[in-house]
């Protein structure tokens, strides 16, 4: 089960090198997103897009 985290933990993880992923649709991401996040919309999330966008060795934070 993925772990639910608070914003403080988000900031700590990102400072330590975690990847921050915005899974909302592209339009919402374009309007506003957390500084430093990349967009990987849930609808497009599969083995290919995940492998292309993310490194498996680093923690991943989704919102």
């Amino acid at each position: 089960m993925p772990t639910d985290i608070s914003r403080d933990t988000v900031q700590e993880l990102v400072a330590e090198g975690a990847q921050l992923i915005d899974v909302r649709p592209d339009q919402e991401f374009q309007e506003e997103h957390i500084a430093g996040a990349i967009n990987l919309p849930l609808k497009t999330l599969d083995a290919t897009t995940a492998s292309r966008a993310l490194e498996r060795s680093r923690p991943v934070v989704v919102y």
């Binding site: 639910d4 899974v23 995940a50 919102y63």
Partner: protein, 162 residues
């Protein structure tokens, strides 16, 4: 949406997956940095007064009134032990019998707004309805503070002229 994405990533073999469920609403409500076309837009959370007297339903009205007046305030928000808004004391409630129950003198179900709501639209809406203040809560109903229209108008005038 993010719980599904987090589970999907785990099913794809990612082992260190964390879910920031409260996401953008929580992030922007706390004034943390964002990017994009709407980044920098003022929000309710930017003008909210967070230092607000609160009380529980079980407290004695007379004690609450004394405490609120000593703090130089004229409103008190009734919350549960978890901070969820139940009602509001103001106006005539402060002159009621000190032994009356909080329940009998409070306003129930005060209007609330979310901290990530756009400040300009919200302030215009409050002005059109002649609402002087509004409670700001999380999406789960926990009190964050009170947004006073005069504070919001001043903030918009200073930081975001039309």
């Amino acid at each position: 949406m993010s719980p599904r994405a987090a589970c999907r990533l785990e099913s794809l073999g990612f082992t260190q997956v964390f879910d920031y469920v409260t996401g953008m609403a929580d992030w922007t409500a706390n004034g943390l940095p964002t990017e994009g076309q709407l980044a920098g837009v003022l929000r309710a959370g930017d003008a909210v007064q967070r230092d607000v007297p609160t009380c529980r339903l079980t407290e004695r009205l007379g004690d609450v009134v004394k405490h609120v007046k000593a703090a130089g305030q004229n409103v008190c928000i009734v919350t549960s032990a978890e901070g969820v808004v139940i009602g509001r004391l103001r106006g005539a409630a402060f002159n009621a019998d000190p032994d009356a129950s909080i329940e009998s003198v409070m306003e129930t179900g005060p209007t609330t707004t979310r901290p990530d709501d756009a400040l300009r639209e919200l302030t215009e809406h409050m002005g059109a309805r002649k609402v002087g203040s509004m409670l700001v809560t999380t999406s789960t109903g926990r009190l964050i503070g009170i947004l006073y229209r005069k504070d919001a108008e001043e903030k918009l005038r200073r930081e975001s002229p039309p």
